[in-house]
């Protein structure tokens, strides 16, 4: 086992653990913070997998922007959800059962597949190469995704515009 390999396992363990902790937190702020840890771990893995740009983006966008947005929302609406049934038994037990079956099958599926044990050689995509590649090959998708972002913007705006008090009409 190489050093990087060991590091991978450690990071994987951290990521999984952080995620697992995150999803079981009653306090959503805590959950988000743990999830940020998880995303940091993911970013590290990206880095070792030769995607430094993505690692950075993961930290900036996922851990930074997205999670912060979550935090904003959670804090803005100020809900501690004390009454929340954290993990209702009639939900998590079936979910856990299917989750376990799923894991078994996932293991089976991954190991049964030819070439699954292919070693991951080290190859680093420099941000420059990556950017060139993306722009050369996936300009189309970039255009589309820009449309998506525009859409999200307008959508969020519209939903806000249409926001009304219960009982009053449309126009506020």
């Amino acid at each position: 086992m190489t050093f990087l390999g060991l590091l991978f396992y450690i990071l994987a363990a951290v990521t999984v653990a952080a995620t697992a902790v995150a999803i079981t937190r009653r306090n959503m702020v805590h959950a988000v913070v743990y999830l940020i840890v998880s995303f940091f771990g993911t970013a590290m893995i990206f880095y070792f997998f030769g995607a430094p740009l993505l690692a950075a983006l993961e930290v900036i966008i996922y851990a930074g922007a997205i999670m912060v947005l979550f935090l904003f929302v959670v804090m803005m609406v100020k809900v501690d959800s004390p009454g929340e049934d954290l993990l209702p038994a009639r939900q998590w037990i079936p979910a856990a059962v299917f989750g376990l079956i799923y894991l078994v099958i996932a293991f089976l599926m991954i190991f049964e597949t030819r070439g699954a044990d292919a070693p991951l050689g080290l190859l680093i995509a420099s941000p420059r190469d990556f950017a060139l590649y993306v722009l050369q090959n996936h300009w189309f998708s970039i255009e589309v995704i820009s449309l998506l972002l525009l859409l999200a913007l307008i959508g969020a705006l519209q939903l806000g515009k249409s926001q009304t008090k219960p009982g009053t009409g449309d126009e506020t």
Binding site: Q91, P94, I101, Y102
Partner: protein, 623 residues
């Protein structure tokens, strides 16, 4: 066959049908015209039949005319005419009695709201019965057989507003239908085994090619039709009920002609039946049973028409006995004479009923039925003929049947026959004595005067004619025998045993005497000996409980049994299952719809679970 003959046959048979159609479609509203049409057509038929009879009197053998019918159905059905001696004789009898009865009906049915309808049905009957007489194949006979059944149904239920009349019509149709189904099956058996339904072929060599068992089976099945139509045991109870119809109808259909069709069919297929002694034995037994049972019933009835109806059954049984005993001529001759005197009996009774408005002959007697001279004389002649009093026609025909029976090895049949003769004389004259020597006469005057209007004349004319025939016909035994001898049917047994003649005569006189003793002599209490034995009386009056058995059968087994089961099966089992299925589907829909409304996380879980299952299935499928 010469064309004139064919033309005569066609005219004889189809004219009444034309009359039927014309009346039904055009002249329902014009009773007079309807009657004229009907009578005219029958008159032409009668003339044609007489001409044909005369023409063929000396002809050597049967003449047949046939044409292909239904060639393309895959069956080879030949239709046409078979004008042999038997057929022509029957044709003439039927045409004659039809004509007489229709003339008689002018008076009897006058003023009835359904006058046109009556004549339409009469014409329908005439067509069917005349055609039946000269049909050349079994299938054709079956067709007209059913049609006479139909006209019988319609005419019995003529006064349909009377519940009993419509009931009786239905009963008649269904009971004869039951017999006809056997006949129908018999036809199939014959067709499939002999490949031919022609009467001549069956009577000829074709039948001998059939296996014996099959032949017996088919004979028995065909005899089922005879049992139904001629009201033999066990399908006998419809005939007395059929007396609900107008009396001329009873005279025509239910005594003289239609019911005799059974016997006629027997005679038609006589050579064929003769090939199976077993079947003949069964026929003999059934004829005997019917004759005796019906006689006993006649002994206790107080309804004049019913007495004659029972007597009809009994006489038909006697004819069948004669035929089954091998006395071909005896049977046919008795058929001929019986047609005359039985029609006469009914027509006379009709006059009384019409006049006094009651069927009860005790009542008639009290009302002074003696006052009507012509009917009184005629009915006595007819009753005497029925009883076998010489020299009336009945005497001769009965004697020949007795001699046929006497020819059998087992004397029991003859004894039964003689018993029948005794009983016949007894019950006939029971009626005569009660009617004409009543204990008390309520109204000597009043009705006693013979009415003198056109209707009455129309009614009495046929009486006189028939009475004459009854008196004279007996003396034509020999010519008729000669005529029928041309049928190539030799009586199997024709021994001349004098003692049976004498015994029959003695017994009929004895019956007459007993009747006189109990009913006729001055001061007789007019109560028969049977009536003094209550259980026996009840047995006879209830017609040996045959109707009860049928009623129970229809009610319990068919109506409340099979039919109920079928209906319940439809409702509960089949429809129940279908409704259950439909209800289950709707219920499933409700459940399914409910499952779509569960909380969103369960839905996501369901998606996940299905995906897990599908992935799992991949490995499962590989195994």
């Amino acid at each position: 066959m010469a064309y004139p003959t064919l033309a005569a046959l066609i005219m004889a048979t189809f004219l009444p049908f034309a009359a039927f159609l014309l009346i039904m479609i055009f002249t329902r509203m014009k009773p007079g015209l309807s009657a004229r049409l009907s009578i005219g057509s029958v008159a032409v038929s009668f003339v044609c039949s007489v001409v044909l009879l005369a023409q063929n009197w000396a002809a050597p053998g049967p003449v047949e005319y046939s044409t292909q019918f239904l060639a393309s159905s895959g069956l080879n059905v030949q239709v046409g005419f078979l004008a042999d001696q038997l057929g022509l004789l029957m044709l003439t009898i039927v045409a004659a009695i039809c004509l007489l009865v229709q003339i008689y009906s002018l008076g009897y049915m006058a003023g009835d709201p359904g006058f046109s309808r009556y004549y339409a049905f009469m014409s329908l009957f005439a067509w069917a019965m005349l055609s039946l007489s000269v049909s050349r194949s079994l299938l054709q006979i079956y067709v007209f057989w059913e049609l006479v059944g139909l006209s019988s149904y319609l005419l019995i239920g003529f006064w349909y507003e009377k519940f009993s009349a419509s009931q009786a019509g239905k009963k008649a149709f269904v009971m004869t239908r039951a017999g006809d189904v056997a006949f129908f099956l018999g036809i199939f058996v014959v067709l499939l085994n002999a490949g031919n339904l022609g009467v001549l072929e069956l009577n000829g060599p074709t039948a001998t090619r059939m296996p014996h068992e099959v032949l017996t089976l088919s004979a028995l099945l065909i005899f089922g039709g005879i049992v139904g139509k001629s009201a033999q045991f066990p399908l006998m109870t419809w005939l007395p009920d059929a007396m609900e119809g107008p009396t001329p109808v009873s005279a025509l259909l239910h005594s003289a002609t239609m019911v005799a069709a059974g016997v006629f069919l027997f005679a038609r297929l006589f050579p064929f039946f003769s090939l199976s002694p077993e079947a003949m034995g069964v026929f003999l037994a059934i004829g005997t049973i019917s004759m005796l049972l019906a006689s006993t019933m006649a002994m206790v009835s107080r309804d004049i028409k019913r007495v004659w109806a029972y007597s009809t059954i009994s006489q038909l049984g006697l004819m069948i006995m004669g035929l089954a005993a091998g006395g071909y001529f005896a049977g046919v001759f008795h058929l001929t004479t019986h047609a005359g005197f039985k029609a006469l009996l009914f027509l006379c009774s009709g006059v009384f009923i019409h006049h006094f408005g009651t069927n009860d002959f005790y009542e008639l007697g009290r009302s002074g039925s003696r006052g009507l001279k012509i009917p009184t004389i005629s009915i006595v002649i007819a009753a005497a003929a029925l009883s076998g009093v010489p020299p009336l026609s009945g005497y001769f025909s009965k004697e020949s049947i007795m001699s046929a029976l006497a020819g059998l090895s087992n004397p029991m049949w003859l004894l039964a026959g003689l018993l029948g003769v005794f009983l016949t004389a007894y019950y006939s004259f029971r009626v005569m004595f009660v009617m004409f020597f009543p204990k008390s006469v309520e109204q000597e005057s009043g009705h006693a005067h013979a009415p003198d209007h056109a209707g009455y004349r129309a009614m009495t004319g046929p009486l006189v004619f028939l009475a004459t025939v009854t008196v004279l016909l007996g003396f034509f035994e020999a010519p008729i025998k000669n005529f029928l001898a041309g049928m190539l049917v030799i009586d199997l047994h024709a021994p001349e045993t004098n003692w049976s003649h004498i015994a029959a005569l003695v017994l009929s006189i004895a019956g007459l005497a007993l009747a006189w003793f109990e009913f006729g002599r001055r001061g007789a209490e007019q109560v028969g000996f049977v009536e003094k034995i209550p259980p026996l009386y009840r047995l006879f009056a209830e017609r040996w409980y045959l109707d009860h058995i049928y009623g129970l059968f229809v009610d319990r087994v068919i109506d409340r049994g099979i039919s109920w089961l079928c209906w319940q099966n439809d409702n509960k089992v089949i429809d129940g299952a279908i409704d259950e299925l439909a209800g289950g589907t709707v219920e499933g829909g409700r459940i399914s719809a409910f499952l779509q409304t569960v909380m969103i996380q369960y839905r996501l879980l369901a998606i996940f679970a299905v995906l897990v299952f599908l992935a799992f299935y991949f490995f499962f499928e590989k195994i």
